[in-house]
């Protein structure tokens, strides 16, 4: 009995040693900055890092919520998140269904699909900026000169609505491969015999999808939607690089912190965003648990 106990204790000690490095890393680069942000959000931070921040209470938060730019940016971010999550998940699902069938060259087709996801954002942005260039871009050439979809050449990077459309299009194109990979893996795990049984019962392709495929992949889709919503809520890099006309939250935050150098205000934004996202996550968890 005592030997068993000591074995158990040895196992617990080994477990502790094994998790220690991860724990230190997570504490020092995620939890500590998070707490430091909360601390900073109540302070006026001087530009000089040697000066100690001055306590100013909720003043940063008051500035934030009375700033029209912040509220506008928040609305824009919600719009961006809702649309991109819907498009990237839908496209990912459609492509996964398409690629789940057997055809020649399927391996090559599948690896080509994930190309946008593995290439560095910044190089992709350059390609898009060149392709959507007002005068020399190949997109305007095709859309305006050949297909005559527009009367005048659209200014993709300067018009607020068009820029929004552009960043949404870019994000969809770039991240749908992630949804595609996850959904494809789930599709391949579905038991074939379910479809055989459905076929015997005379169910068509449409009915088979809603009765078998969709319920089977629903857990994957719901976790994809949650993760993508969180990631895109903080989206910064491709929007910041593509255009100056779409000040979504990540861009607004970056500009406050690193162009205006108001770290106190930036920390307040971070905390506010964090609370919004956590509320969203808890809300979704409860919904999912109920299902």
């Amino acid at each position: 009995m005592s030997q068993k106990n000591s074995l158990k204790r040895a196992e617990a000690r080994l477990g502790f040693i094994f998790i220690l490095p991860s724990l230190i890393l997570i504490l020092s680069i995620i939890i500590y900055p998070l707490c430091y942000n909360i601390y900073l959000s109540f302070h006026k931070v001087a530009l000089n890092p040697l000066k100690t921040p001055k306590f100013i209470g909720f003043s940063n938060y008051l500035t934030l919520f009375s700033d029209g730019e912040f509220l506008k940016s928040l609305m824009l971010t919600f719009l961006y998140v809702i649309i991109t999550v819907a498009t990237s998940t839908t496209v990912g699902l459609l492509v996964a269904l398409l690629m789940n069938r057997k055809f020649k060259g399927r391996g090559i087709a599948r690896s080509l699909v994930i190309l946008p996801y593995v290439a560095p954002v910044i190089s992709l942005v350059f390609v898009w900026q060149y392709m959507f260039n007002g005068i020399y871009g190949v997109v305007n050439y095709a859309a305006v000169d050949k297909l005559q979809l527009f009367n005048a050449a659209p200014a993709w990077f300067d018009h607020p609505v068009l820029s929004m459309a552009l960043v949404i299009l870019f994000d969809t194109w770039r991240v749908f491969p992630y949804s595609f990979m996850m959904i494809l893996a789930a599709l391949q795990a579905i038991d074939e015999s379910l479809y055989e049984a459905a076929m015997i019962d005379g169910a068509g392709a449409w009915k088979q999808f809603w009765a078998i495929t969709f319920p089977e992949i629903l857990p994957v889709i719901s976790s994809l939607v949650v993760l993508r919503a969180i990631w895109n809520f903080y989206k910064f890099d491709d929007v910041y690089l593509l255009t100056k006309q779409v000040p979504i939250m990540g861009v607004y935050l970056y500009q406050t912190a690193f162009s205006v150098y108001d770290f106190g205000l930036a920390a307040a934004i971070t905390v506010a965003l964090f609370i919004i996202v956590m509320t969203f996550v808890l809300f979704v968890r409860r919904k999912v648990n109920r299902i």
Partner: protein, 229 residues
């Protein structure tokens, strides 16, 4: 008969679709061989240039692209190696060892995997300035925040798939938990370890926000180099 038609339609959809996805890559590859005057000019829309040139590649070499690539490669490799090591240990503990607070730990890992670098970039920047770590390879430390939770998550799924019987027979033969981990779990979960290492490497290689803020000296990374151009 009908089936054949459907198959053909299906093939056309796939080819069209792949073209749309891959088109930007093809277009930029073709453009890279065009002389400056044909990139911005009347003949910008010609598919193939008559005066193909490698001058842009020569300019890249002159602008010390190899130095930037070297830095990117070093940072990505360092991060991949230590993250994979640290994550393997943690994932094994979560997957196979019993100890108090395990579920709490897993919850923390899952929760942190949802935090994007945007949340912590300000404080990390402050710390880096204070320690004088900007423009250095120390940047691989904060990179573990975007890669470690994902790596742990992937490895836990792979370690849990290793059959328990293998481990039990090893322990009957007198192997310690440590030895079982190194001799049995690690080799059997090698594909999973590779997957997580590749995902870590790509994540670091492509990361932009941290390298933008923590490297005030441009010219440091290949990706910053591109931004500067």
């Amino acid at each position: 008969m009908v089936n054949k038609k459907v198959e053909r339609l299906f093939a056309v959809i796939i080819v069209l679709y792949l073209l749309i996805i891959v088109f930007p890559f093809i277009w930029v590859a073709l453009t890279s061989f065009k002389p400056e005057s044909e990139i911005w000019g009347a003949s910008a829309l010609k598919v193939f240039s008559n005066n193909a040139t490698v001058e842009h590649y020569q300019a890249l070499i002159k602008a010390h692209i190899f130095n930037s690539l070297k830095n990117s490669l070093i940072i990505s490799s360092i991060t991949t190696i230590y993250v994979t090591f640290v994550a393997s240990c943690c994932a094994y503990a979560i997957a196979r060892l019993k100890f108090a607070g395990k579920n709490l730990l897993l919850a923390v890992v899952l929760a942190t995997s949802m935090f994007p670098q945007m949340i912590v970039v300000g404080p990390i920047y402050n710390v880096f300035v204070k320690l004088g770590w900007t423009n250095s390879y120390f940047i691989s430390l904060p990179y573990s925040m975007i890669t470690l939770p994902v790596a742990i998550f992937i490895l836990v799924t792979h370690f849990s798939k290793v059959p328990k019987e293998m481990e039990e027979s090893a322990s009957i033969d007198g192997a310690s938990k440590m030895k079982t981990f190194i001799k049995i779990i690690l080799p059997l979960a090698l594909p999973g370890i590779f997957t997580s290492a590749i995902i870590t490497f790509i994540g670091v290689w492509n990361e932009f926000l941290l390298s933008l803020t923590l490297n005030l000296l441009w010219l440091f990374y290949s990706k910053n180099k591109l931004y500067q151009a």
